[in-house]
Symmetry: C2
Subunit: 520 residues, 2 copies
Amino acid sequence: MDNDKLNGAESLVQTLAASGVTMCFANPGTSEMHFVAALDRIAGPRCVLGLFEGVVTGAADGYYRMSGTPAATLLHLGPGLGNGLANLHNAGKARSGIVNIVGDHALAHARFESPLKSDAAAIAGSVSHWVRSSASAADVGADGAAAVQATRDGAVGRIATLLLPADTAWGAGGRAAVATPRPAAPAVDADAVQAAARVLHHLGPRAVLLLGAGGSGSAQAQHLAVAIAAKTGCRLLAEFYNARMPGGRGRPQIDRLPYMVDAALARLAGAEALVLAGAPEPIGFFAYPDKPSQLKPPGASLLTLAAPQQDVPAALQALADALDVTLVPLASRAAPVAPAGALTPDHIAAAIALTLPEQAVVIDEGVTTGRGLAAAMGAAAPHDWLAVMGGAIGWGLPGAVGAALGAPGRPVLALEGDGSAMYTLQALWTMAREQLPVVVLVFANRAYRILQGELLGVGATLSGQKAADMLSLERPALDWVSLARGHGVPGIRVESAEALVKALRDGFASHAPCLIEAVL
Amino acid sequence: MDNDKLNGAESLVQTLAASGVTMCFANPGTSEMHFVAALDRIAGPRCVLGLFEGVVTGAADGYYRMSGTPAATLLHLGPGLGNGLANLHNAGKARSGIVNIVGDHALAHARFESPLKSDAAAIAGSVSHWVRSSASAADVGADGAAAVQATRDGAVGRIATLLLPADTAWGAGGRAAVATPRPAAPAVDADAVQAAARVLHHLGPRAVLLLGAGGSGSAQAQHLAVAIAAKTGCRLLAEFYNARMPGGRGRPQIDRLPYMVDAALARLAGAEALVLAGAPEPIGFFAYPDKPSQLKPPGASLLTLAAPQQDVPAALQALADALDVTLVPLASRAAPVAPAGALTPDHIAAAIALTLPEQAVVIDEGVTTGRGLAAAMGAAAPHDWLAVMGGAIGWGLPGAVGAALGAPGRPVLALEGDGSAMYTLQALWTMAREQLPVVVLVFANRAYRILQGELLGVGATLSGQKAADMLSLERPALDWVSLARGHGVPGIRVESAEALVKALRDGFASHAPCLIEAVL
């Protein structure tokens, strides 16, 4: 198509394609109709529809984590962006790169009080690292290229939001642009490597090597970290939540810092230094009366071997070299044993470890039930484990959509609490439309179980029915098999370990979406 | 309970109760556990659980529209507030009063980078007229009373958001407070009344009396407006969307300004003045190439008889007095006739008009299908008609929850597009838990039909499958009967007018929630 004849929307579609953005998760409205029309006329990103904006933004997060490239989202005005806000929060904490395209009112229309007038820039600013509103059709292409560039933060990603007033989309004079190539991540800091080597060597078990980002995110980096710990005697931990953590047979099995504050304090007790390899300082999820926010012992020092933006695997390699470490062979692990009987946490873990296919991607939003799974997963087939990073539930099902599209051909297992799955259950429909190989396992404990624990954690006590009702999902019990069917996804209810194993095997074998409701 | 021994959360619960807030729609998290616990210990608002925050905020909007008093919402941190944002936008445009209580991190915790750290104040500011974060437990009661007061904007409501850091909730030294009594709405402006009387008298059919807020919202005000139009010959219209509009037999039937820009321009063509009775200046929903944003003819003057904040019915009474108008008897209307055959728009309208119970509350988020219903509803039993006011779809099902709780004993009919219902379908569960008398009628056209029209409206053309897929809800078709069952609500699919009539009758007779999927 002749570049002179593009409208703004067409120039943006062309720019995104030229800049390596090949996927667009969309929930469009009127102000995005020119962008939608342009998708038909210009070779551009593949477009996947979500029936709610939280599906769109959560999918973009999952997609980035598996593909390493930003997806575009297409959202409708301030309220549409608002609906996608929680998963943009999560994506920001996961350091995922996303280009949000948010249609807005035409510039001349925005000065009037119309029903959908909103402060989209303010909403965008609360979760974006970069926000721009295009001023004219001629600017849209360059703005789109700038948005793609703004998603890059060294080795990790960021959230960029481009507001597209409708008249800049439909206006003539669009000029396609192209983002610059992605620059290399900041180099390893040799001084930091030397400092970390000294601390680990001298403190041994009184030092903790804490992995995050590229440290926990690479099997090779994990392997190096295990060898460093073996050589120096330091303690080795990963963050509690990790954006993407390889695991399973033939890979190291690295303990994660516990979620519960008391348990985390115990794991770090006696440490005099924490060496951070891609992890920020460990901080409690929430504050509790008379408990610290900082999980490290008072007075313990913090050493940053590498920030998340840096090449963390390279920094660990440099650290291993400085310590003259050689890789240690991993202990072989017993094969998982088929569980039988009730759906206990151990049996659920064993069923997953037994049935997980090679190279599966596990999306972990199992909340309370999910916490107990880690130990068993070392015996599972090699896989990647993705956790919700910002603590805002409703990420899991959309994240599974994005992970499946970001890693074509790999099976996906989405672990969901029944409470968390409800926030964005519309993602099931996108799984059905795109026939994604996602097995959804819902842990139906029929409660906000985490809150029943948190209520005790903050020192409050539950004395009556009114509060109990706020934490229970009974009356009525959700029927997940019907919810799945309503979205076009086959479902099955299981109440024993044997049935769970069979349902998981059947689900993975189908290479299509299915939902398993495990009644706990 | 001894006031000296309250914690901050308890002081807030006591303050809300003392200030007339008797309903709390909640989706709590960890940071709200003390508030939840306080609800058990202190006589306070009734608490209704929503499984997604958009349900909570939309319900608060519906509740205000029927009860005239603000509900509280209980939301979890910035992401939870984000999930409720779109329906807060709608509530703001509806001029509904809501007190959002948003738990936030403890003050000492907020300086650290924890997963759920977010800029809740920025998110709140984008949709709230008033935002405050409590500084200490001792302030929480007074802040809560100030929040209730901040929901009042003369005769209408506003959005107030109180951020409650967790330590201000659990901290000792809470002091309950009480909001001041609601002040009277600003008085009628006698000069405005005289000016409006002169204009209507002199211009007759070249003037338009446009009703909004309390003008369209009161049957008595409508009746006065009809008499004024009869006397002066002026044109009489209501806004396209109205927060609450009485209708049905024994009431005036007032045409609404059309949604489509061309049709609206035609209705206002030739007008030299618009007299605004609770309505703002009419503005198009969206801008379109080569169409105006302002719907009034260029050069036509705008006269504000009464702003939405004023006592609009009193202003219309004063106008009627100034014009020496007497109420005119309403024409009697033919009883609705039972429709037979296909589910055409006319047959759907007739089925609703025929079966709607006395004093029903109709929630209209029928989008394209809903637009054709108005003409037939004059023959229905007396009812109130509530429309989504901010244009952000996903308001209807939550609004129905709130309306049912705000008008106990009155039957509710929720009209939904299949596209719009998907945004907040979790509201079905709250209907089931509270056993609300809501009949949900889903118009299953299996498309974003409005967008198929809007695409033409902006001058874009649909040339290929890629864009068509973004506007279609086929592949797979949603199964609304299963979706309802999954949430604990019985459902039925109908494909004929006769079946629709029977399903509506059965649904209203059940005095419990049900869902009807009308396949179009």
